[in-house]
Subunit: 159 residues, 2 copies
Amino acid sequence: MTKARPPRHLQFGNSTLDETDARIVAALDSDARLSMSELARSVGMSAPSVSERVRRLEAGGVVRGFTVDVDTRAIGYEIRAMVRIRPLPGKLHLVEKLIQEQPKFVECDKITGDDPFLARLVVHSIEQMDDVLESLSEHAVTSTAVIKGTSVKRRLPPL
Amino acid sequence: MTKARPPRHLQFGNSTLDETDARIVAALDSDARLSMSELARSVGMSAPSVSERVRRLEAGGVVRGFTVDVDTRAIGYEIRAMVRIRPLPGKLHLVEKLIQEQPKFVECDKITGDDPFLARLVVHSIEQMDDVLESLSEHAVTSTAVIKGTSVKRRLPPL
DNA sequence: GTTGAAAATAGCACGAA
DNA sequence: TTCGTGCTATTTTCAAC
């Protein structure tokens, strides 16, 4: 009896990608709008094969979708900040809802430690940042660190 | 004398987008692989016009590119964490370099406050997380918060 | 910004390895 | 089961307006 490799459709969920899938994902990460033909050329396969692999990567949950990388500063959001948020006793769910409903919070993770939330905030000005933080002050304590620059731009880990 | 609106090609860099551009960017954010035809239909314009607007959004720096949203858990990175990093005296640049060269740090911002760096880390296991933090311990003090979940998935601020 | 034609591409069925 | 070929429909691109 030969050592069975799990069928491809079960390989997603915890495992690694094969060489070809990794190259496809990496190529799409640098330009998600590549045509299937270009993609196929860059990995040395036919377009239908690549197309099918992308479909499976999406179906398997590895690829959640394709998005645009917008420079928020270019549209007037001059200030970015990371805000740690500690709701007052009994206000955890209320505060989470307030964060979700404030669209200038562009991302928020629930984390371990003293502060349950860590959120990314973009605003047009310091005054506007103060307004947003002020609107939470009744229900939570916040610690804000303004972003001065970027050391590592969002990237994929090793595939 | 009529109140002059700045010409479109100078509008990027600090201003807001017009209604159509905002709809285009929002549509691309939810699916960056939409065809120009579909995009054109959704905003009620011809394909060449939409195509030209997208080209200008890229040239103007509003759109930096198109990326894929990968679920790192689906490829085995079970643990995500936010790590605050405070280099020891004189080691700021060395530490920044170490962060940049560790591909499991998938993002890192330079921030104000006691800890100069705030980095996002993805790892396969707690043991692997410890390895990464250990590799910095000679040059920096770290504070790690494991991500338990997400309150706000990365999204665009109001356009 | 729109239209229309030519080139490129995507999607499908089918056959080969 | 995965990949490649050939077909048709759709899309992209460019020109002219």
